[in-house]
């Protein structure tokens, strides 16, 4: 399993790439939205790499730029007012500069996407089967009959009983979990090498969440695809991800292998996130939120984006957290963006 560091060796499975490099390599990706009130900096200089067969979890609170990152990768921001800069090399092709027509060839066939709320993400006026077959027909020279067979087969693979009958039903006939299964079937019908799941389990109840996550992992192993899982649920991350990337204010504040993020946390924000998770052993009946509000993306602070909410900003001394943006430093694939040194972090984590 390769690490998401710059020195990662390309997986032999990342064939089809014209340049030697990672399967997906994102460098300095930024997304800005000009609005009447000013420029909204939704994503500010994201870097990460991903190999086939791997799962990368992107976590962060609402408005941290998770979904915008995924939409930029899908090219869904092309043709809008959004300004996307940086590089996103997918099998050697830069998704940022690729024109819409070329991007369309990749969408659905090479990059699949699963959305948060399957009820609103599926078209209410077409049958579930029709929508899945449609995804198949765009990228395959096939007859309607073949497309139907492929869609029925896919519905079966995602665990929908009597798929041939369910093919002709509308999304409103399906339950929430079934709809998300159908959504997954639609995203996977062309067996994309990269799957982006944008909060795929948020709209589902907990028992169904586990089923959907299992299903996604299973299908990912079958096709050896890469998976980007966007979520704000750390439990989900711990369960299925190989690597984690923590986002705050449109920046990656910490990234690394899942175990290190959970057990060797290096950033105060990640620490705050982990502390805010309720556990069965928490003594007081109250949650432990991170105090304060996320920064306005219209006017990001000059220093560390998290400094205003950081309990430990004073530890760095000289007001450095408020005045200087920390660099992202990485060591053995575990990177963080913080002025505090490792000894200081360790003393915060294990107070005596």
């Amino acid at each position: 399993m390769t690490q998401p560091s710059q020195t990662a060796t390309p997986s032999p499975l990342a064939s089809g790439s014209t340049k030697t490099g990672a399967f997906l390599e994102v460098r300095n990706l930024s997304v800005k939205f000009p609005t009447d009130d000013g420029v909204v900096s939704a994503v500010n200089g994201m870097d990460f790499t991903l190999e086939r067969g791997q799962t990368l979890g992107i976590v962060g609170e609402s408005g941290s730029g998770k979904s915008v990152t995924s939409q930029a990768l899908m090219g869904l921001l092309k043709g809008t007012s959004a300004q996307v800069t940086g590089e996103a090399l997918f099998q050697g092709k830069d998704l940022v500069t690729l024109p819409e027509a070329g991007m369309r060839q990749l969408r659905g066939r090479n990059i699949g996407m699963i959305f948060q709320d399957p009820l609103s993400a599926l078209h209410p006026f077409y049958t579930v089967g029709h929508q899945i077959a449609e995804a198949y027909l765009v990228h395959n020279k096939a007859s309607k009959k073949q497309a139907r067979a492929a869609a029925v087969d896919m519905l079966g693979r995602v665990g929908i009983p009597s798929p041939d009958m369910r093919f002709d039903e509308y999304p409103h006939h399906f339950s929430g979990g079934m709809r998300q299964r159908a959504m997954i079937a639609m995203a996977l019908i062309c067996e994309p090498e990269l799957l982006i799941a944008d909060e795929p389990t948020t709209a589902l109840d907990v028992t169904v969440q586990a089923q959907i996550l299992d299903l996604m992992s299973e299908l990912q192993q079958e096709t050896n695809s890469a998976l980007i899982l966007i979520t704000h649920d750390l439990g989900v991350v711990a369960e299925v991800c190989d690597d984690v990337l923590v986002m705050y204010g449109g920046q990656c504040v910490e990234s690394g292998p899942v175990d290190e993020i959970f057990y060797d946390t290096r950033h105060p924000y990640t620490l705050g996130l982990l502390k805010s998770m309720p556990t069965l052993t928490t003594k007081s009946g109250r949650l432990n939120p991170i105090p304060g509000q996320p920064p306005s993306l219209l006017a990001l602070p000059q220093g560390c984006i998290f400094s205003a909410r950081c309990e430990y900003a004073a530890l760095a001394g000289h007001g450095v957290c408020e005045s200087q943006r920390p660099q992202f430093t990485s060591e053995d694939g575990h990177g963080t963006r913080c002025h505090l040194g490792l000894p200081q972090i360790l003393s915060i984590r294990n107070p005596r």
Binding site: M74, L76, E100, R104, Q105, L106, R107, G108, R109, G112, M113, F115, D117, S120, A121, L122, H123, P124, F125, E134, A135, V138, H139, Y170, H172, M183, M186, A187
Partner: protein, 333 residues
């Protein structure tokens, strides 16, 4: 589905009864006196009474009403005792003015109204939905602003203004089009479809300017909303061509309010476009109804009012059926 149609037919019948009763009452207690109008300039009280008997207006109000309604289901005798004549089913009475069968008058006027309505409908639907969609796709651009601006101008121009302006420019000034003639009332007539088209082109444009303005606005608003829906993003994420995303996924979902409007407007327009018919001298239902109302010609006014109500109600039923065809969620119940 069959139950739905039966229920709607039942309510249609009840509505027609209500409409006819109200119209009948209005006439009964209104200031118009059809009898003195029918008897002409030199009239003695005796002649007025004679006319009243001939018109059946000496009977009590309810008897008159029931007698009138009976004609909708069977032929009946009409006229003063001793001078009765047969009124064939469907009997809508005889004109107080010309003693002509009302059903004949309606049959004569209807093709003109249909001719006006059909062309205007096609014109305003195409231009309204087309421009509204274009504005939605180019939201915020100069094209969008121009279309929205033109729509607000269009909706505030009354028919007499656009109608007279069109007549002045195209007929009087530049002689590009003939003045409307009442010899043409169908594209299948002796003069052929081309003459029909030229004859009705100006009324169509006048109506289309007025109607398409609101269609532009409704289409634009709804399409902008629809293009922001999650399922449009899904369609794009599948790699579908922009045309498929816009039309198959976008327009299909965003067009439903336009279908409702269309149904209402067709219903209204088939009842006669009074102003447009007046200005372009088209002897359609609206034109005939106005003349009948002024001269107190009760049977003609009644018949046209009921027909207009009938069209509106039928159009509503059709809209409901169209909804079920467009949106599978409506088929549930």
């Amino acid at each position: 589905m069959i139950r739905f149609i039966l229920r709607r037919t039942g309510s249609l019948f009840l509505l027609l009864v209500a409409v006819s009763f109200i119209t009948f009452t209005l006439f009964q207690f209104g200031p118009a006196d059809p009898a003195s109008a029918a008897c002409g300039q030199e009239c003695t009280p005796e002649r007025v009474q004679e006319a009243r008997v001939a018109l059946g207006m000496d009977q009590p109000f309810l008897v008159q009403y029931v007698e009138y309604m009976r004609g909708l289901f069977s032929s009946r005798m009409i006229g003063a005792p001793g001078a009765e004549s047969l009124c064939q089913w469907p009997c809508l009475g005889k004109s107080f003015q010309t003693n002509e069968n009302v059903s004949d008058i309606i049959a004569r006027s209807l093709p003109y109204t249909f001719s006006m309505a059909i062309g205007a409908l096609v014109l305003w639907t195409l231009s309204g939905v087309g421009l509204g969609l274009l504005a939605a796709l180019r939201k915020g651009s100069p094209t969008d602003k121009f279309i929205v601006g033109a729509a607000s101008v269009g909706v505030s121009l009354p028919i007499p203004v656009t109608g007279l302006f069109l007549l002045l420019v195209f007929v009087n000034q530049f002689h590009l089009l003939p003045f409307t003639t009442n010899e043409i009332n169908s594209p299948f007539g002796a003069q052929g479809p081309w003459a029909w088209l030229l004859n009705y082109l100006l009324p169509w444009i006048a109506l289309a300017v007025l109607f398409s303005a609101s269609y532009i606005r409704v289409t634009r608003t709804n399409m902008i909303e629809t293009f922001g829906e999650d399922f449009i993003r899904t369609a794009r994420a599948k790699g579908l061509a922009p045309r498929t995303v816009t039309f198959k996924h976008g327009v299909r979902a965003g067009i439903t309010p336009v279908v409702t409007m269309l149904g209402m407007d067709i219903g209204l327009l088939l009842g006669g476009a009074v102003l447009t018919e007046q200005i372009f001298s088209v002897p359609g239902l609206g034109f005939t109804a106005v003349r009948a109302a002024i001269s107190g010609d009760l049977p003609v006014t009644m018949a046209i009012t009921m027909l207009a109500a009938f069209f509106v109600i039928v159009a509503n039923v059709v809209v409901d059926l169209a909804y079920a065809a467009i949106d599978p969620r409506v088929r549930l119940q």
